[in-house]
Symmetry: C2
Subunit: 252 residues, 2 copies
């Protein structure tokens, strides 16, 4: 799979390989950038991400958030006070999650694309979410309020939108805990539909790491914890470093 990534990247040109960090799946949270390598231990200072960009942070409350979403957000924000939990900012372009020093995509090119889960202009109609990280528990939670433009069955969130939210949450968790990773497998058991406009908690954690394999699990539950909407497992492959990619390309 790694070789496939390199092959595709080569097709797009070497600079794209070295800087655009092509991988199979992306959560939009500096996937492919090893924060520990550039910023020291990631969870000791979460100011690192906000320093990378002056773009709008979409993981902050807006008028579309329901009371349930606000209450849950406030609860996690409170839990951030002792430093065990960290709020994760979120932008609408992958490029905004990458430090300025590592960016090579021009502003013009940047404006042409949008991060998939932040691609709507109107607040509240698509993915409304905010993530919080607990590094010591190797856990990432995501408060998720699916909007009316994520419809599958009438009145309920599309299974694909649930898959996208799970992918982003477990991906974010894997990156913050293990550094550079790429998705190898995502398996979801759907248990109960999620009504549009409701609020659910996507709760993921790294279960164990075997060599370069990072195994995660995830549950999607209602706020009161009484309804299990979905559960998932994921496997990510840990990448060594950007140098490894450079070596791979050079050796082709």
């Amino acid at each position: 799979m790694w070789k496939n990534c390199v092959r595709v990247a080569r097709r797009l040109g070497r600079s794209a390989v070295l800087h655009s960090d092509p991988r199979v799946s992306c959560c939009g949270i500096i996937r492919g950038l090893n924060p520990a390598a550039t910023c020291g231990p990631l969870w000791n200072s979460m100011t690192w991400l906000s320093q990378f960009t002056r773009s709008k942070d979409y993981a902050l409350p807006n008028s579309s958030w329901s009371q349930g979403m606000m209450d849950l957000y406030s609860r996690f924000l409170e839990m951030c006070k002792d430093g065990k939990w960290k709020r994760i900012p979120s932008y609408n372009n992958t490029s905004d999650h990458i430090p300025e020093s590592l960016k090579v995509v021009s502003e013009k090119e940047r404006k042409k694309t949008r991060l998939f889960l932040r691609n709507m202009d109107t607040e509240g109609v698509g993915f409304e979410y905010a993530m919080f990280l607990n590094p010591s528990e190797k856990r990432m939670v995501c408060l998720f309020q699916p909007g009316p433009y994520l419809e599958g069955p009438p009145g309920f969130a599309h299974g694909g939108s649930i898959a996208a939210m799970i992918d982003s949450t477990v991906g974010g968790c894997a990156i913050f805990i293990a550094g550079r990773v790429m998705t190898a497998n995502l398996s979801i058991n759907y248990k109960s539909p999620i009504p549009l406009g409701s609020v659910v908690l996507v709760d993921s954690k790294v279960d164990h790491i075997e060599g370069r394999k990072v195994f995660l699990s995830c549950q999607v539950k209602s706020i009161d914890g009484q309804t299990l909407h979905a559960e998932a497992t994921a496997l990510f492959i840990q990448l060594d470093s950007t140098k490894y990619l450079q070596q791979q390309v050079s050796s082709q």
Copy 2:
């Protein structure tokens, strides 16, 4: 899981249960409606779907489609001539995939929501796709051109968008072959990233049916078939009929 669906639906009111067809995942192609029950053998007359709505069909070529997408579309359209393959229309609201006689959602309510994969106003920026069904092979293919608003890693489609496209394709296949179904599991192996703007073929088929369990597999490949981008398996549960749901609700 079935009972969970009923429970959730009950929370939303009985009329929502009986008519809005709540299920866990939806491909947007009359999921939950058993076409055979209402229209006779589905694949003998594909005029059935177009008769249900006067809405815009988004599965037709537009100016954002690349030459590769157009060529592939023309190839499948040609294969439709002998009746073995059928083009599947696609609308931007789940309600438009349901026959008028079964609709209870008001026009006002209908306008508030969008089918997840058809939720963008601008052509070409999101999911551009067209599906074709081969009933005798129990196979559904989807020509997919991911737009720049589906970005994950810079320049590549988000893993969640790939999951959504696979979910919709296997879901559509399951419905057309087995009637009323709901997603139980979706497992995806990511093999190689998909560049934004490229065209891939999502090829799914029903492998076997055991009782009410419908097992499907799916591959996502480049047009030339040389690159395997992802492969997936899916399990859907076949539902008996709308009457079964009514009985379940009545007995609660």
